[in-house]
Point group: C2
Chain length 573, copies 2
């Protein structure tokens, strides 16, 4: 366990001690270290959100004393004696199968705990932790058990890390895509449609369609062909693919008064195999590459759907290459190039980590497929990683059961991880579906499938983009690229002239004919984060120019011709 | 009843008489006139398909005699005596509530029948009918009743009409879109996905996408904006819209292990209302026009799904305008223009009938909305029909309950009716969903919705197009527009040159590198109905020309430049 994890775990004990001193009647549940901090659960304790500062002060007071965290082993019966007044600890003790259990003592506080902890309280920095919030949590996470009060704490190695985390968090909240989505009028929800089902307005639909056009154009350059497959199927399809079992809890079942019985697809891949299987394929026909931007469905827990980041119907951008073993390398290279081309558009390529996930060599029995294929494909992935200078981190045991893969981890503006693109080799699916091609010798062979996800889910990707750019979408993605604002109705004619110019160039422009004041109109344009506002008045009309205001608030006076030229460069760059 | 219907009905009696003479043990069920002919159901009769000619001959023999069809009324008891050996007729008699029943006598044949019939057997033309086929049919159409043998007959007024019908039918069978779809590699089905769920191959996907682009571009010219809404919703949405009741038998219900409960939408309109409802709208914002090409679902009876013409997931091209009463006329005009522009692309505009469906004036209580709105909107539709020279046939009582409408009926190459486009005014939906806009005086008003369907369902439209064109899709829709066929590998270089030229012009071309013989390659291209095959050999290379073979089998030698120019004119025409 890393030092920061030990610190977090130790802080949870200190917090428990502080709560016990302030609220002696409190009963302790469990208290582990978690990502970014720690928590502890309490029953019978009367604290509220506003008491957190007091508890935090008490923790600092405790830590002023210099004490060590000491582990000792005792027989279970002895531990039961120590915790005899706490039914939760007694139950936890009963869950332990061994005869001896381990306790940790820090100052006068004793807890049932496996550790590890810091050795001494002095190792815990007092200015880089903070109690964050209180939440309800069922004992052991089971809905039938008592609801305890959980205090979440944040803890980092330095004060600076804590402050960065807090400021990013505030920024994240400000950039919440749900807020930005409403502000920019991109999508909405309806009570009678249901949460988890976003409705895309004309503006949001432009964003989806522009993204779709861009990713599909890139993929077309690498030989992918569009296909369209239905969102439903008989469950037989997923029994064969293995997804029926894997997604059994998240499968939507479809029935009707006519006794139909279908499922909504949890993945796209099996449908695409059926197009491949619809004809006899020759080795000369391969590789065959299909792509599709359509929906798949997961029955998320009703409480877990959220904005665009978690929805029931996920519009997935998915692609597969059906190829021969000797073609796998070029296929992988093409797919990595697609990832590079696409993420380059958002200046994210270069700011990422690549992972090469291979077998657990000690346990070959966990995987499907022959050793020689695995050897070859892992070698191919390594070669590609080297040749394309991906600086990939090798991860043993992280391969999928059906083959090794490359994963790409990007970070957004605030350092949040966005793991989306993946390139995976799959030996298993072609065998399950008995897909074949006729080789040079007239014999049937199974092709290999290479899966690739680039953009992932459109819904989630748009949520990420909105938060990444704080709503200032790149020019080519902005649903409204230019808004023309006449200072008054007197200049409407000239404004219309400019409007016609932009329309001719297929720029998504809008002419503001509202009766609002000029400053209100400018404010509206800014709120909606329109890349360019063109203010048109006396001076502009006389000089045959436009006053361009960009999102960075810079202003310049240029001719319409210059402006259009500039935009075209930006749109096609 | 028209004369031809009387003839058909009389033929069914003559057929029954012929069967009784040939198979005295046969028991008669029912025998009405139907579209294009007639049928009669028989039990206990031992005839097979090959006996139809014999029965037909017997009918002609019977009709050589000159006899009349005479109606007489008898008391039910007397009729029961006559039909005492036929349990079917006895049951039919029991179903009649009156005391007297009517019989028809023709020659020595008597049947329980309401008529009417021709007066004399001489009125029946002997050379314009034909016994077509035998099918099984439950008595009274009820699945629990005995299965009878039904003989279908065709009958027309003239021999010529019969022959036209038969030749169209043969042509229709040859043009079956399922056959053409496989031949052109446009779509396929999979047993483990299920029938009713077509999978579109890369070629079929091009056809869908080109159609989508074309219809959406046209609609965009008339101010429609694309939106995207989910395929599912809570049933609440359809309880409010009224569709839950209307489509209760055809609704797909969606459930999950997480206790979700949704339905798959049977129509698109309610979702689009929710985008309108997501913001406060002003009278200045109207009209707001949404369009969408997405799926809706109907739980068709499993036996009734068929190719692309009847599927479970219907990709519908649907649009709605939310407008003020004073805008309805312009909205209707725009929508009719869309229909005209779109069907003009297929040379179908002009070859159609327009229907103007208005209220049943005697029963105003059957409709939703105020009389003054109905008066105005019917007047508007009449004005539009007049101004746009639609030559519309007025149909009283054919309006929807929520408003009057215009329907367009097209005929395909073989005279089959294709009713698709419709423009409907709707007063009810905005009220049900409480949609509003703020009028000039700051008061809330309900907008009016104008619905329009142009292309209808993509699946069905493609089926119709394939059959209409016998697979020879217009150039702009053809998935592969040009195939370049080198006479031998020696001319591959020159072929590649031409291929690059066509690619530059964004023509969907394909270079045939297969090792087949030249004649096989040409045959393949013809089977797939590629608009242009370019044969490239010695002569073509030397003269820097291409040998163009079009689908009409005409050939010409022209330069690549001339060819590309010609194509571009065709593609953009």
């Amino acid at each position: 366990m890393s030092q920061i994890e030990k610190i977090r775990h130790s802080l949870s004990h200190v917090m428990a001690q502080a709560v016990k001193e302030l609220y002696p009647e409190a009963l302790l549940g469990m208290g582990p270290a978690i990502e970014n901090g720690f928590y502890y659960d309490f029953d019978n304790a009367n604290f509220k959100e506003e008491d957190l500062a007091r508890i935090e002060n008490k923790m600092r007071e405790i830590m002023k004393k210099d004490f060590s965290f000491e582990k000792r082993e005792v027989v279970k019966e002895k531990a039961k004696e120590i915790f005899k007044n706490n039914p939760y600890k007694l139950e936890l003790l009963d869950d332990i199968e061994k005869d001896n259990v381990s306790l940790y003592q820090s100052g006068n506080f004793v807890d049932l705990c496996e550790g590890p902890h810091v050795q001494n309280s002095k190792e815990i920095p007092v200015d880089s932790f903070k109690l964050e919030r209180i939440a309800g949590a069922y004992f052991k996470g089971e809905e039938t058990r008592p609801m305890l009060k959980r205090i979440y704490g944040l803890a980092f190695e330095t004060k600076n890390d804590l402050e960065t985390y807090l400021s990013n968090k505030r920024e994240n909240e400000k950039r919440d895509h749900r807020k930005l989505g409403a502000q920019l009028d991109l999508f909405c929800f309806s009570d009678i449609v249901g949460s988890g089902f976003p409705l895309f307005t004309p503006r949001g639909t432009i964003v989806i369609n522009e993204l779709k056009k861009k990713i599909e154009d890139i993929c077309e350059n690498y030989g992918f062909q569009r296909v369209l497959t239905p969102h439903l199927a008989k469950i037989d399809l997923y029994e064969k693919s293995g997804h029926a079992k894997k997604f059994s809890e998240e499968l939507f079942h479809v029935t009707s008064p006519q006794n139909h019985n279908f499922v909504m697809r949890p993945v796209l891949c099996p449908h695409q195999t059926q197009i491949y299987a619809s004809k006899i394929r020759s080795y000369r026909d391969l590789p065959i590459r299909y792509m599709e931007s359509e929906k798949m469905y997961r029955a998320e827990k009703p409480g877990e759907v959220r904005g665009l980041s978690r929805v029931y119907g996920i519009t997935i951008e998915d692609g597969h290459s059906f190829c021969r073993v000797d073609q796998v390398k070029d296929e992988i290279k093409g797919m990595v190039s697609i990832v590079k081309d696409f993420y380059g558009l958002f200046d994210l390529w270069g700011n990422h980590q690549t992972y090469l996930s291979v077998r657990d060599y000690a346990h070959p029995e966990k995987y499907i497929g022959e050793k020689k294929d695995w050897d070859l494909c892992e070698e191919i992935l390594e070669e590609v990683a080297k040749e394309m200078k991906l600086d990939a981190k090798k991860q043993e045991g992280e391969a999928a059961i059906y083959g090794p893969k490359l994963d790409f981890m990007f970070k957004d503006a605030l350092g949040n991880e966005i793991q989306i693109p993946t390139v995976q080799i799959d030996f298993a699916t072609p065998k399950r579906f008995n897909l074949a091609y006729i080789d040079k010798n007239g014999k049937e062979q199974h092709p290999i499938i290479v899966h690739r996800a680039v953009l992932g889910s459109y819904e989630r990707f748009i949520a990420l983009l909105l938060e990444h750019y704080n709503g200032n979408l790149p020019f080519w993605l902005a649903p409204e690229q230019v808004r023309i604002i006449p200072v008054s109705d007197k200049f409407m004619d000239y404004a219309e002239e400019i409007f016609e110019e932009t329309k001719k160039e297929k720029i998504r422009a809008y002419l503001d004919k509202d009766s609002d004041t000029l400053s209100k109109k400018i404010r509206n344009g800014e709120t909606q984060k329109i890349p360019y506002l063109l203010i048109v008045g006396e001076k502009e009309k006389n000089e045959k120019k436009v006053n361009v205001r960009c999102r960075e608030k810079k202003q310049e006076m240029i001719t319409t011709e210059e402006f259009v030229k500039k935009l075209k460069e930006e749109a096609y760059s």
